[in-house]
Structure formats: C-alpha cells, structure tokens
C-alpha cells in the first residue's frame, strides 16, 4: 500500500517538533514517547505515522477523540493489501525478531498446510524463489552497485504490522539478509534520496534530505469500479471484472508509449484485485512532482465521487488521446460491460443510465418502454436509445448532444479509474513486484502486455503451490549440466524470465544513455 509522504520532515515522528502533536503533549506518557521516538524513529506504524512504543496510551486517546480515523479519510491507499488480522499494530524491537537461521523445512510440507503469511512459508519464498538479483539490477540500472540502489528507500511491513521506513542497502545481498532476518510480510519501494536514507538524521537540517528520483507509478484497483461492476464487489474479483483491468492497462500503456514516449513500462499484478505500473525510463524517474501531476491530469478522465452524478464531462472535439481511448474501449463496452456486466437490467439500475442522458422527453419514452418489458437487457436498452430517438419521441432532441452523452457514458463505464495520488508524488511508496499478497498468497507477478488478454489473475501461482512445485520437480533425463535454480522448477519461471528480459533492456538503454551523457557533459560548460 502506498504511503503518501508530504515532506521528509513530517514523516519523522515529532522528535523534532513534539509540540505539534497535541494529543501526545496532553499526556505525560507521551513525553517518554518523545525521547524514545528519537531513537526509534525508523519504526512507525503503517499509515498514521504515529510512534508506537510508549505512545500507545496517547494513541488510544487520539483515536477516541476523532470522529473519523485518518486512514479512512484519504483514499490514496491500496486497500488491496489489507491484512486479515485486525489486531492492533504493535512494535517489536528488531533484536527480538528471531534471527537464528533455522534449517528450513521441506517446502512441500510447508506449502501444503500453512497460510501464505506464515513465517516459514515466507522464509522459504524469500530464500528460494524471490528474484533478488533482477530486483537489484532493476533498481540499480547497472550490474555494479550505485546510489540508485544504495540510496533507495525500502519500507518493511512486519508480520505484526509494524512498519519500518527508511531502510536502505548497499547491495542486493544485504537487502536479502535483512529481509530474511525480519521476515516482512511484504515490502515497498520508495524513492532514491540525495543521501543514504539511514543517514538522514545526521544531516544539518532535515529539509536537506530530499527524494531525487523514482519510477512513475500507477495504481488501478477494482474496488474503484464497484459502482459499475455487478459480478463482484469489494475484495472479490472474477475474470469478468478483470476485463476492466485489461482495458485500463491497454489504454494507459498506449498513452504512455505513444504520447509520452516512454519505453520501459512494467505492469504488475497487485496480488488480489488490481495492477500497478512502473514506468522506469530515466526521464520518467527524474520527473519532479509538477511533471507527474501533468501526466496524471492528462490521463485522468473520471472525476467526482459517489455523489457527483455524471463523472465524465468532456469538451468537444475530443482530444486525440480521448478519441483513441474511445476507439480502444468501445468494443470492450459492448462485450465486457453491456453483455457481461449488464449494469442497467433492473429499473433502479436503468435510472442511473437515464440520469446520464440529456433529453427529458426521450427519457420519458425510454422509461415507458422499459417499464413494459421488465428484465430487458442492458444491451437492448443501449440500442433502444438510438432507436427511440429516431422515432421522434422528442421534438427537441439534439442528436449531437445525445451522441456526446453516449460517448461520455462509454468512457464512464470503461475508462481507467486511476488512484491518481500514487502517480502525482515522487516520494510515494509502492509495493515491490514479486512479493506475496498475504491475503491470497498470490505472487505479485509482472503482466506481459503482449498477451494481456490471456492474463488470468486467478491462475497466478500462490506461494504455497510454488513451494510444492519445487519438491515435485524431477530432473529431466537430458541434463544440460547447468544447475537449475529453484524458481526455474516452478510456474514462476515465465514471470521471472519476463522480468529479467525487461531489466536487461532497461540496463542496456541506461548504459547507452550514460555514455552519451558523459560525452555531452564534457563539452557543455553550463551556466
């Protein structure tokens, strides 16, 4: 789940500005908290950034005095990743975490019976399956360690929900070691900072600790489609509603490539009901917030919340990005929305459609027609609009306005619904690819856009099944002599291969650009 970080100084719990925390100052317990916080500032709870140690008392107080909990207020989180456990987050000191390297049990016996979030399952997964090397190369943009990796923030969510920010590692091996020691249920990737995030407190002042670069990210979640999908709701998905994700990826991907000229775009399944995009081009990574906002604004079409009525109100003629999107989406609208979702079958549902149409008289005729044939399908109702319109049911009918309203409706029911906050901020954190979703056990695998339509979220391997596959693997008769890695024995293999190819192309481009830049730098004497 992404965490919005407005400025680095705010995220360091009020060690520097204890007076700001009104509730904490109100209790004496909080004063202890303040002193401990400055030592433990790395450890904050998920979402509300409140120190967890001794502040529990004041923390409870705070919750009582609020009508609305902070984390409920701001919809910029990927609630896809909620944990089944509802226990209060508690902090566990790092030293208390078991760090003794127990001999791992056989993956099969682990895999069969245990929950995905079980420490033993996680240990085997991180030890035997997680593609550490490619993750490193992906973030480092070069085979030898650079600041792109070393100054990169990682954030761990531990098994007990404690949340550790500002972790950083010089090499992929140290990252792996710490992950095995702390066994986080998942981890997130943040920006590259101007200095090592672990050293941020040694800086003269906190404002000089600055994020420099991060991939441009997108987050799409099927819960944002709850008002238009009829097959499932909340955390549930099926292949019918996954089609919304397919169309969203198509639409955004082509805009990023054709319009903005980005090349290195990786889509990742979020493990349950959504997808993330990582745009990794160097030009994208170094964009400031203004440019990120520009892209977000360019791509955002659906506006307004539950109470806002018509959510798409576009100027005409349509901007080329929008007419292209409409071309991509209209077939999906017929097949995946009208036929599969059938969103306007009941009279109440049909009323929602009528509210989006501009002509009162036409609406009256349609309402009458539909009342007389209950259960009429959405497909027929959609066709009725033009058919009834042609009969002259409304004398004042403006054919152009009707056409435009219909286009707006197509977009309202198909255009990607982005969690746009994730894209606007350079310093947003986003869940790493290849971690395991603790609820479903599914691995957050990359989605190959060349065969996007074939992607089946329910067919994505779970960590338990993967561990069983390792054990069930038999050495082929003709041995190539090369040692076979564990991931190659499982159905994770195509995904890791895809990732590896993606990373290699990225590194190659980066190297070429670097050579060119060094040449340019040598010549230019900048003002």
């Amino acid at each position: 789940m992404p965490h919005s970080v407005s400025t680095p100084s705010e995220t360091v719990p009020n060690a520097t500005e204890p007076e700001m925390d009104e509730a904490a100052a109100a209790t004496t317990a909080a004063e202890n908290a303040d002193s401990q916080q400055s030592e433990d500032a790395d450890i904050t709870m998920a979402d509300d950034e409140t120190p967890t140690t001794a502040a529990t008392e004041s923390d409870d107080k705070k919750t009582d005095t609020k009508e609305v909990k902070l984390e409920d207020l701001f919809p910029d989180e990927d609630s896809d990743d909620e944990f089944p456990s509802s226990s209060r987050p508690t902090q566990v000191k790092q030293e208390e975490m078991s760090s003794s390297p127990e001999f791992p049990s056989s993956p099969a016996e682990i895999g069969a019976s245990l929950k995905a979030s079980d420490p033993e399952v996680m240990r085997s997964f991180y030890q035997r399956l997680f593609p550490w090397r490619y993750l490193f190369q992906w973030l480092n943009h070069s085979p030898t360690p650079t600041n792109d990796f070393g100054h990169r923030e990682f954030a761990f969510t531990l098994q007990n929900d404690a949340y550790l920010r500002y972790q950083s590692f010089p090499t992929s091996d140290l990252l792996r070691k710490d992950v095995l020691r702390l066994m986080p249920s998942r981890f997130e990737i943040g920006p590259v900072y101007n200095t090592n995030p672990r050293d941020r407190k040694t800086l003269r002042n906190l404002t000089s600790f600055k994020p420099l670069s991060k991939e441009l990210c997108f987050d799409i979640d099927l819960t944002d489609y709850d008002d238009i999908r009829t097959c499932c709701d909340k955390a549930n998905i099926c292949n019918k509603c996954w089609q919304f994700m397919t169309m969203a990826i198509k639409t955004i991907d082509v805009a990023l490539r054709d319009d903005f000229g980005f090349k290195h775009i990786m889509w990742v399944y979020s493990g349950r009901r959504g997808a993330h995009a990582w745009v990794c081009d160097k030009k994208a990574r170094t964009m400031d917030d203004q440019k990120r906002r520009a892209i977000a604004g360019y791509l955002e079409v659906i506006r307004g919340g539950a109470q806002s009525g018509k959510k798409v109100n576009l100027r005409r003629p349509l901007h080329p990005h929008l007419s292209r999107s409409l071309d991509i989406l209209k077939t999906h609208f017929q097949e995946d929305v009208l036929e599969e979702q059938d969103p306007w079958r009941s009279p109440e549902q049909a009323e929602k459609l009528l509210q989006l149409l501009p002509d009162r008289q036409l609406n009256e005729s349609l309402r009458k027609k539909w009342d007389s044939s209950p259960g009429r399908s959405s497909l027929s109702k959609w066709a009725d609009i033009d058919a009834v319109g042609k009969t002259g049911a409304s004398k004042s009918l403006d054919a152009r306005a009707l056409l435009e309203a219909k286009q707006d409706i197509v977009l309202e029911y198909t255009y990607p619904r982005l969690d746009i906050e994730v894209s606007k901020k350079l310093n947003h954190l986003l869940k790493s690819p290849f971690v395991v979703h603790p609820g479903t056990g599914r691995v957050c695998v990359p989605i190959d856009t060349r065969s996007l339509e074939d992607f089946d979220p329910l067919g994505v391997p779970t960590v338990q099944s993967l561990l069983q596959e390792i054990d069930a693997w038999k050495e082929p008769e003709e041995n190539s002599g090369k040692p076979v890695q564990d991931w190659e024995k499982t159905s994770l293999k195509p995904y890791i291969n895809y990732f590896r190819a993606f990373v290699l192309t990225l590194m190659k481009d980066e190297r070429d650009v670097k050579v060119k830049r060094e040449r340019d730098d040598a010549e230019a004497l900048e003002f």
Binding site: P18, E19, M20, T65, A294, P320
Partner: protein
C-alpha cells in the same frame, strides 16, 4: 562599487563576465544595452550604482511584488489584477515599449534589471523565500509579457534561444485531424473558425513535453513520442515556464554563493531589511474594525467568542486552557488578535491573569503584565504609544515569520502542523468532519496554499450563512472575498452567525431590518 558584489556571487558567472570582457577587448565593463522591454535576467548588472539607488530600487520593486502577491491571495482575476496593478507599476516600476515616445527607456530598464538582482540577493537565503520570490517574479513577468506589443514580444522570444522546433508543413498535413482536435479542444472559449482553417493558420512548434507541463495537464497540446505540439497562442505559457525554471536555478546558485556576500557589511543590513519586510502591505488590520454591538469581554471568550476563531487562534486558546500557559510568540500572536477583535486592555489583562492560574500575582505582574500593556501601546517608547502598540498579525506574517519551535503553539496550523495533527484539530477543535473538505485541505496543504485551506474551512463552517448573506444581498462580494487576516476571519464569522441580530453590517442595516420584519410575519 556595487558591481564587485555582484561579481562575487559566483565564480562561474565571473568567468562568463571575464570572458566577455576579453571579447570586447575593453578593460571597462560594457554598459548593458536593453534592446527589449522584457528581460529574462540572465546577465548580472555590471555598472555602478549608488547605495541609495540600491536600496530605493529594491524597495520599489518589492512594493510591486507584494501587491501582486496580495492580488493572488485575494483570488483576483487576471483582468482585475492588471487593472489593480497598472497605477502601481506606472509609479514604481514603469517599463515602456520601444515604440513609446518616452526618453526614460534605458533608465527604466536598468532599474528593472538591477532591482531584480538586488532582490535575488535578499531572497535567496531560504527555500521559502526563494519559492515566494520565484512565484511573484513569474507573476510580474507574465503580466508584462501579456501586455507587451506583439511584434516586440516575438522579437524578444527570438532572443531566448528556446530550442523550439517548427512543425513542418508536411507534418502538419499528416497530423491535421489530431492538431485540429487539439486546437479546438484548447480553444473552447470559442473561435468560430472551422477547425481545418484554424490548423492552417496556426503556427505550431514542437518541444519536449516536459517544457509545457501545464499545457499537457490540461490536454491543450497534442502529444506524440514525447513531443508536445504547441499552437502559437499557447507559447506564452512555455515562455513563462522557462522563465520560472531558469530563475529557480539561478536562485539556487545565488544561495550557494551568499555566504561570501557577508564580506560587504554595508549590504547585509539592507538585504536583511528587505527580506524581513516582504509582507503584504495592506494585509494589516486596524483595530478600529471591531464589531459594533458585540460584547467583547474576557468572560465571553470561552462562551461565545472562541467559536469564531480561525484554526490558529483556536489552537492557541486550547493550548492555553490545557497548559495554563503560552510561550512568548504564542502570547504575542494571541494578545494582538484579541486586541484586534476589540478586547480592551483591562479585559485583556484580566484574561491573561485568569488564564495563567498556576502562577502568583507577583510573577504575573513582573513577567507578563508589561508585555500585554506594551502590545496595546500603553507603555514603551513614544512611537509605540503613539502608534497604539503593535498591529495584529496578518496571515502572511504568521505564515512566514518565527516558525514555531518545541513547546510553542503559535503559527498557522495549516502550515506548521503535520497532516495528522491538522486533521485532528479540524475535527476536534473546529468540528469539521466532512471528507470532501478534509481532502481539499489536504490538497491545499500539499500545494502550499495555506490561506486557501483556511478559507475552505471557513466557507464550509459558514456555508448556510454565506448563502443567505449572498442571496439576501446582506454582504457584498467584497465583504466576502478571500480572508487573509485572522481578525477578518473572526469578524466575518461573527457577523455571519449573527445575521439576525443588531450586529449586522451597518450599511445594509435598514434594508435588512425590513426583511427581518417580513420574516417575522411569515412565522
């Protein structure tokens, strides 16, 4: 003499100058020529000016910038801003076009050039000041750019060597339908020409899309392969964006070079003075604007008055009640506010005495009484007493001066609280639980529009009354414009919540009374 100080700014820059010097093969610095009215301020001044000019020019420019900032705080439209600024610009910073008969052109342009660079020195020291300076200088540039003679403007843009690539006729034909849609979509305000014709007549240029982020954000350009296709009339926004980004970079360089400026002790005090006085000039609040008929007493602060406090004062009041104490700047900010709402000196002393209930009479008299009296102009030097003490702090002052440190409760919660604590204050202290409003406040805060956040909360808390005041014509539009002073917040809140009582605004009171009577009959 001042020349040296500019040259000390940055060794690199000096190199540039030295290089030029050689080029001109002239040991003396060449007088800067100003062929254009507009200026990107790429080259630092080289000629000597007097210390008096140095200070006066800077102050004049500052006046203009502060007023421009005030216009944006008040949400004035571009047209209103132009009208409002015209007399000020004519007086303090005139800048005529080449076609003008004025004989003052070189002097005007020199003043514009030098004053800009002097203020750079004054405002480079902190990130906050740099951001503010960039913002207002950009506003000034945009204002002048828009008002410039078309041909002279084009000639100026030519000199900027902005690597804009012209779109060839061939490419324009190839993309004619996309460009037509873009042009029309961007031009919704309505040229009636048909689109194909518009595309033909429009000259298009191609730039990296990152050079025109705001046009991209609004889909006012066509994008292909990372290039934005920009119609001629949108190019202004790119020139302005270029101005901003070059100034940002230049200011950072200046900031890094600043420590070396301390060598000249004649300039440092002037520069410090300049940056400290960058406050909105008319955001001051005269204490005469208290409300007729309202009972402003120490006793009423908790019961009726504090409901009308803005978040900053509400927080100070709650902190005071919680701790029975406030630190220096908190007392000052709060005392002046109370003075501004019309609390008399005696009542104010009573209020503080009662609030500090944990200390002895003796301590209070020794340590606190004097400060309150001083703030009211009851004691102190002649000028303090003549001036009636200090003025209540404006939002601008609260936002930019003395950010709160440990244990201090003053400042502006929208700026100085983290989001979580701000949300807590709004929910607990101000009774705001509406998600839309809180989300809006969050965005305002992220965009550093703290006064917008405060006004958003005000409008939410008073939405019923504002609607009525508007519908019934009780308060004019100017009485409802953006609040930029805590005392205005209080006053407006008080008036709005007492629309039915005798404290209605004087001017409309008779008319209001009639309406009031009619309503009584209806009941």
């Amino acid at each position: 003499m001042i020349r040296q100080d500019f040259n000390r700014i940055d060794p690199k820059r000096r190199n540039v100058l030295d290089h030029r010097k050689k080029q001109f093969a002239d040991p003396a610095y060449k007088e800067t020529q100003y062929p254009h009215r507009l200026n990107f301020y790429a080259t630092p001044p080289t000629a000597d000016i007097t210390l008096e000019q140095f200070e006066q020019w800077a102050i004049d420019r500052l006046r203009v910038l502060a007023e421009l900032e005030a216009c944006s705080f008040r949400n004035k439209s571009p047209a209103e801003t132009v009208a409002h600024m015209k007399p000020l610009l004519d007086k303090y910073l005139p800048l005529d076009s080449n076609s003008s008969p004025s004989t003052q052109l070189p002097l005007q342009r020199q003043k514009d050039h030098y004053s800009h660079f002097i203020l750079r020195l004054a405002f480079a020291s902190t990130e906050d000041l740099r951001r503010r300076f960039t913002r207002v200088e950009t506003m000034l540039f945009r204002l002048r750019f828009q008002g410039d003679d078309t041909r002279e403007r084009a000639a100026f843009v030519q000199t900027l060597s902005l690597d804009w690539e012209a779109v060839s006729d061939e490419e324009r034909r190839e993309l004619s339908s996309e460009l037509a849609a873009t042009a029309a979509a961007a031009n919704f305000a309505g040229a009636k020409k048909n689109n194909a014709q518009a595309v033909e007549e429009e000259t298009w240029c191609k730039v990296d899309w990152m050079r025109a982020p705001d046009l991209v954000e609004q889909r006012r350009v066509f994008l292909r392969g990372g290039k934005a296709y920009v119609p001629a009339r949108e190019q202004q926004s790119m020139v302005v964006a270029e101005f901003t980004s070059r100034l940002e970079r230049a200011l950072e360089l200046t900031a890094r070079a600043l420590p070396r400026l301390d060598e000249d002790d004649r300039l440092t005090p002037i520069l410090n003075h300049l940056s400290k006085n960058f406050i909105t000039p008319d955001a001051g609040y005269s204490s005469s604007s208290s409300i007729d008929g309202a009972e402003i007493t120490a006793r009423n602060i908790d019961t009726t008055l504090s409901a009308h406090f803005p978040a900053c004062m509400s927080h100070l009041h709650r902190s005071l009640r919680r701790d029975a104490h406030l630190k220096h700047y908190g007392r000052l900010q709060y005392t002046l506010f109370l003075k501004g709402i019309g609390l008399s000196l005696d009542e104010c002393l009573l209020f503080w005495r009662q609030s500090f209930h944990k200390i002895t009479e003796d301590t209070f008299n020794k340590e606190y009484r004097y400060n309150v009296r001083h703030a009211y102009g009851d004691v102190g030097g002649d000028s303090n007493r003549r001036g009636g003490g200090y003025s209540p702090y404006s939002c601008q002052k609260i936002l930019t001066e003395h950010p709160p440190g440990p244990g201090e409760a003053h400042g502006c919660p929208y700026r100085h609280f983290n989001l979580e604590n701000l949300t807590g204050l709004l929910q607990g202290g101000m009774g705001v639980s509406d998600r839309g409003v809180l989300q809006g406040v969050k965005e305002d805060k992220e965009n550093q529009k703290f006064h917008m956040a405060c006004n958003r909360v005000f409008e939410h808390v008073h939405k019923v009354e504002i609607k009525r005041a508007r519908d019934d014509g009780i308060m004019s539009a100017s009485q409802l414009e953006t609040i930029v002073h805590p005392n205005e917040y209080f006053k407006r809140s008080y008036l709005l919540k007492n629309l039915n009582s005798k404290t209605a605004p004087q001017s409309q009171s008779s008319q209001k009374k009639e309406e009031h009577d009619v309503k009584m009959e209806d009941v």
